[in-house]
């Protein structure tokens, strides 16, 4: 296993990155032109009321003081109140996070399951017609604008064929006692299919190409040749040895893909009216809701950073050369 020292080092790095991202965010939001309260203050407010508001959000203090208050609040999980909703940002962001995560993970799991199998298969069948046809197709899926693909899927499978609902996570008025009850319902599944498919079509390319390329590398390795000389079954050779080794970097790329995918969600959530963090960020930015935009951005950044960390840990866990050093 990893030594305490390495874990400590990684945690320190994690905290450093989060601090740096938080600081960059602070600077962007405070130093950019425009009145940060514009979205909050109604024309009917008196000057006095506006001053009270400025004080409430600490905007009457010097910048460095605002910065330390900001950091201190962050440490306590305090992201301030949304201008637009007048509610604590933290609660809102936390409420939307599961929707984004489930969309991200379900699409990525499908994408990875498909990508890994197809990638391994293509590597096995290298040089064949399948490869010549498949590779350009896969590359094309990576070149599709996600919203464009989403709109086309929507037009075909929802508007024209009516197979799937056109947006949201549930049918109108359906109530669920818990998130789990919602996520495990067929109603939810029906709503999940199109957005998850959009994301999955886009994301399967990475694991597929990675898997194929790793497989090609690994299949040239001596231990795979040896496995064949040992007279082991093809299944053992391809799956237990070649694929298992080729899988290593692919698995770690999953964690990184989560980070990337959460960003891609921004667009797909808008197309499919999905109540997630990405759409919230877009709305918050359009509405100049600084605290909310900041909070949503930070939450996404935290997921990204945690996933980068997880990628590292996963790799060292899965590779005995590191875990059993």
């Amino acid at each position: 296993m990893l030594g305490l020292k390495q874990i400590g080092g990684r945690l320190a790095q994690l905290i450093f990155v989060l601090w740096a991202v938080a600081t960059i965010l602070f600077l962007i939001f405070r130093l950019m032109p425009g009145n940060p309260l514009a979205a909050y203050i109604d024309p009917t407010f008196t000057e006095e009321q506006q001053l009270i508001l400025m004080a409430k959000f600490g905007l009457d203090r010097p910048l460095w003081e605002q910065y330390f208050i900001y950091l201190w609040n962050l440490l306590q999980g305090e992201l301030g109140d949304s201008f637009f909703y007048r509610q604590p940002v933290f609660d809102r962001v936390l409420e939307l996070l599961p929707n984004t995560l489930i969309l991200t993970f379900s699409s990525l799991i499908v994408a990875y399951a498909f990508g890994i199998i197809a990638g391994a298969w293509l590597a096995w069948r290298r040089g064949g017609l399948a490869e010549r046809v498949a590779i350009p197709i896969v590359l094309t899926t990576r070149a599709l604008p996600e919203f464009w693909l989403g709109m086309l899927l929507l037009a075909i499978f929802s508007f024209s064929l009516g197979w799937f609902p056109a947006g949201g996570t549930r049918s109108p008025g359906e109530e669920y006692s818990s998130l789990f009850a919602l996520y495990s319902s067929t109603d939810f599944l029906a709503h999940l299919v199109l957005p998850a498919a959009t994301l999955a079509i886009y994301s399967q390319g990475l694991p597929l190409l990675l898997m194929r390329s790793n497989m090609l590398d690994v299949m040239g390795e001596d231990f795979v040749t040896m496995a064949r000389i040992k007279g082991l079954s093809s299944w053992t050779v391809v799956v237990r040895h070649a694929a298992r080794n080729a899988l290593l970097p692919v698995v770690t790329s999953f964690a990184i893909a989560v980070g990337y995918q959460i960003q891609g969600n921004v667009v797909v959530e808008t197309v499919f009216s999905w109540p997630g963090l990405g759409r919230e960020l877009v709305n918050a930015v359009s509405a100049s809701d600084y605290p909310l935009a900041q909070g949503a951005f930070l939450m996404i950044a935290i997921v990204v950073v945690l996933m980068n960390l997880l990628a590292d840990l996963l790799y060292s866990l899965l590779d005995p050369r590191i875990s059993h050093a």
Binding site: Q13, F16, V17, L18, A20, V21, I24, I28, M32, P33, G34, I135, P136, L139, T140, R142, A143, L144, P145, E146, F147, W148, M151, L152, L154, A155, F159, S213, L216, D217, M219, G220, G259, Y260, I262, Q263, G264, V266, V267, T270, G278, L281, V282, V285, S286, S288, A293, A296, F297, I300, A301, V304, V305, N308
Partner: protein
Amino acid sequence: MHESLDTQIESRSLIKQFFDSLHLPTGDPFAVAGLIIYAAFVAVALSADVIATHDPTEILYTPAYELAADRSPGQEGYILGTTSLGRDIFSQLVYGSRSALLIGLTAAVMVALIGTLVGLLAGYFGGLIDTILMRLADVAFGIPFLPFVIVLAAFLEPSIWNVVLAMALVLWRDTGRVIRAQVLTLRTRAYVEAARVSGSSDLKIVFTHIAPNVLPLSFLYGTIAIGWAILTEASISFLGFGDPETISWGYMLQDAYASQALSQRAYYWFVPPGLCIILVVVAGFFISRGYEEILFPKLKD
């Protein structure tokens, strides 16, 4: 006269040298297809004035002074029809290639340049410089890219350059790390050692001995960045943070989306810009794959 000819020859040979050092992947059929697609789009972009039948932003009217909107392809001489607001779709498509190339190429240059520089410096000098640059890369990896572009676009004036700026600020990270790793292996090579022993300055070694060897790698990441830039611009436009002054494919898609082109069954409006994006981006991928084959040849047995 004589002198200018000389410099001309010299500069031409420099260009040739540059292209030679890029090792354009002309052996791979896909890469060649990619290069041809690029060439075609560059040609269209350069001659957009000639090819386009209308000013892409002009509001078109019928002789009876009614808006010439929602014309289907071929109707009244509009090759791909007109938008809901009466603009010529074909001309927008043609001019869109300009924005795409402009954004794509500048972003690619920025990403490749910054990433290469970071990788070279961090890899060659190591120590504190390496630590600082690589921690910066860690931070860049912690920044969710699209949200970052959205935030930038919201605060700065809507402009296609926001995408380029954001890419320059964030996306050098991948290139930087890869090039650094490459430099780390290069710096131990004998000829670099030799140059160092013979007293060449560090900068000279970096730029004359190491840089040329990582150039194809920079170019590889550059071609990927072109695709990223164009896709990102499209996403940003779609979300309404795009540059409304510049006709781009992203703008067209956004326009079509906002005008419910799909409900109107105006596929001739919604599909072509998407296809153009796909073509250009996939061309970049093809080229970069060609590069990979050169740089990291797979064991063909």
